[in-house]
């Protein structure tokens, strides 16, 4: 039987403290009554109340949410198609280039992706704004969706599809009734990841945005560049709360494992190797 040594335990506990303590401190400070961020002035919700009057900030939040909904949905469709193509279509012409274009954006520094997207939009003289950011986010996020769905498809028991076909289902019916329903949790995980990526992105959005499309991260960034502000502590705490709750709720509903981005497997199997899935990024 494996033993958890004191050293193992210390590593886990310290690691989790390191990951979560800064977030906890941020949330605590958002309830600080004092105007000076570093001085504790007692508990208060005044900064949350003041947010309601911050119209530019609310506008930016609204734009960001719309943007995340649009780009996550588009990225999920494109990413799922790409995953099906990679797993099911064998060695089609141009497959290597296709696969390279899927995996490169996972690690490509955002500054480069943002700059190249912008130069494309300028070269074809498209006015920049909401839709250019949406296109850029879709392109970045679809690759993450592909990796998640692909990991699920590779795992897939092909016999199920063959059984459906033997029973007289057409390929399309088989795909809808069997394949799609089995990979649905991975697709849902992909959509959520794409949503989170879009909601979070500062660099790519800064390059590709235009008048009237200031996203929440761009707004937050311009506020905090020069230092910590109490209102920003409150906004950030709300974002953490909303995203955190959404992720936990979705993972309970879909019963998929956040750590792997794939559905919970039968118990005898370990909690999963298709790692990247979650981080989207890969081993």
């Amino acid at each position: 039987m494996r033993k958890v040594s004191a050293f193992n335990l210390a590593a886990i506990v310290l690691g989790l403290v390191f990951l979560y303590l800064p977030i906890v401190i941020l949330v605590i400070y958002s309830f600080n009554a004092s105007h000076l961020v570093a001085v504790w002035g007692g508990w208060s919700t005044r900064w949350y109340a003041e947010l309601i009057n911050d119209v530019p900030l609310l506008d930016a939040a609204f734009i960001s949410i719309r943007l995340a909904l649009v780009s996550a949905s588009a990225a999920t469709i494109l990413g799922t198609l790409a995953a099906v193509a990679l797993v099911r279509f064998g060695r089609f012409r141009g497959r290597l280039l296709f696969a390279s274009m899927i995996y490169a954006p996972l690690v490509m520094p955002e500054v480069i992706t943002g700059l190249s997207m912008l130069l494309l939009f300028v070269a074809v003289a498209i006015d920049r704004g909401f839709w250019t950011v949406a296109i850029a986010h879709t392109t970045m996020a679809m690759c993450f969706v592909t990796v998640i769905v692909q990991a699920r498809l590779v795992d897939f028991d092909m016999n199920l599809e063959e059984a459906a076909m033997d029973l007289g289902a057409s390929p399309l019916e088989t795909f809808r009734a069997v394949t799609l329903s089995l990979i649905l949790p991975a697709i849902a995980a992909g959509w959520m990841l794409a949503f989170a990526l879009s909601l979070d992105d500062l660099v790519i959005a800064s390059f590709t945005t235009g008048p009237g499309a200031t996203t929440l991260p761009i707004r937050i960034y311009s506020e905090v560049r020069l230092g910590v502000k109490p209102e920003m502590n409150a906004v950030c705490s709300i974002m953490i709360g909303v995203v955190g709750l959404a992720v936990i709720a979705a993972s309970l509903l879909a019963k998929f494992n956040i750590a792997s981005g794939t559905p919970a497997r039968p118990q005898q199997k370990p909690p999963d190797q298709s790692l990247l899935s979650a981080g989207g990024r890969n081993r």
Binding site: A11, I12, V84, M117, L193, V203, V228, I240, V247, R283
Partner: protein
């Protein structure tokens, strides 16, 4: 699969393929082209890309206008070189720190019962889902002059005068290690978790001391995870913008900041494009290794 595919099946490949060609590959070619053009006082601020209507003359003009001036500028101005060196140095050391911190965490998690492992990995990955920018901002709070960290250090009498954390390379390292930790733990966990226990038992049965088992069996067997984690952290860290911009100082910018400033500040688009191309050139080898690994890992299932 049969070789004859229906039109609908072809679309499954062609739609995402076309999307990536137009929005991923073509933009790179444009960056390459602009890096070879001269800055101009115009909108957009570079000499025209091409003029198809001019026919053959247009094509010769296209090649005639190509210039390596921007690359010469990068080569001659030590600012760019310093920026590249600093980025690679910070990314390399951060990756090393991440390995040192991430490995015991991943290893510790594999020692716990299976059900707990799933929960712990979920906890490790959860911060990834919550906004990246906000997690860096959280560190601005902690590291400020009279912030929680300095108060703690003063209260414990570890220091007598509060040290300056923000606007330093130390803060950049903290920021990178903090935000990339899940990416390091995940691949390490994935390989360690699949490690064949019987090999460790065999080594122990043959009288190998525990520390030696780790160095000679566990660590070599987890090499793929180490490589994957290192690439996953190193490549994006080299081009990092937000972390050095919010936590770092203004002395020597990292390369991501240099591209940003050339672009938004100096409005020298060709120079920004040339810096981006050099950065891609620098990262192309690790990126190709990463792609190769990912492709193999994903397709093996």
């Amino acid at each position: 699969m049969t070789s004859k595919r229906s039109f609908a099946e072809k679309l499954v490949v062609r739609i995402p393929y076309a999307w990536l060609l137009v929005f991923f590959l073509v933009p790179f070619l444009i960056v390459l082209r602009i890096s070879l053009s001269q800055p101009a006082l115009a909108q957009p601020p570079y000499t025209p890309l091409f003029n198809l209507l001019a026919g053959w003359h247009g094509i010769t003009a296209f090649f005639g206008a190509l210039s390596l001036d921007n690359y010469a500028l990068i080569g001659s101005d030590p600012l760019y070189l310093l920026s590249f060196v600093k980025s690679v140095e910070i990314a390399a050391f951060s990756t090393l720190f991440l390995l040192i911190i991430g490995y015991p965490i991943a290893y510790g998690i594999t020692r716990t019962p299976r059900r707990v492992q799933a929960l712990l990995m979920t906890l490790v990955m959860l911060p990834f889902w919550t906004a990246f920018l906000i997690r860096i901002y959280a560190w601005m709070n902690i590291l400020q002059h009279d912030g929680p960290l300095n108060r703690l250090l003063l209260a414990l009498h570890i220091v007598n005068t509060p040290p300056v954390w923000l606007a330093s390379d130390t803060a950049i390292y903290i920021g990178i290690v903090y935000s990339y930790l899940p990416f390091m733990v995940l691949p390490l966990y994935a390989t360690l978790e699949k490690l064949d226990e019987s090999l460790l038992e065999a080594a122990a049965d043959l009288g190998c001391p525990r520390s030696k088992i780790f160095w000679e069996v566990t660590l070599p067997l987890s090499a793929p995870g180490v490589l994957a984690g290192a690439l996953l952290c190193f490549i994006p860290a080299v081009g990092e913008f937000v972390i050095p911009d919010l936590l770092g100082g203004s002395q020597a910018p990292m390369i991501g900041q240099t591209i940003w400033t050339e672009f938004f500040g100096n409005k020298d688009w060709p120079a920004a494009a040339a810096v981006a191309i050099v950065l891609i050139g620098l990262l192309v080898t690790p990126i190709v290794i990463f792609q190769h690994q990912t492709m193999r890992a994903v397709e093996r299932g």
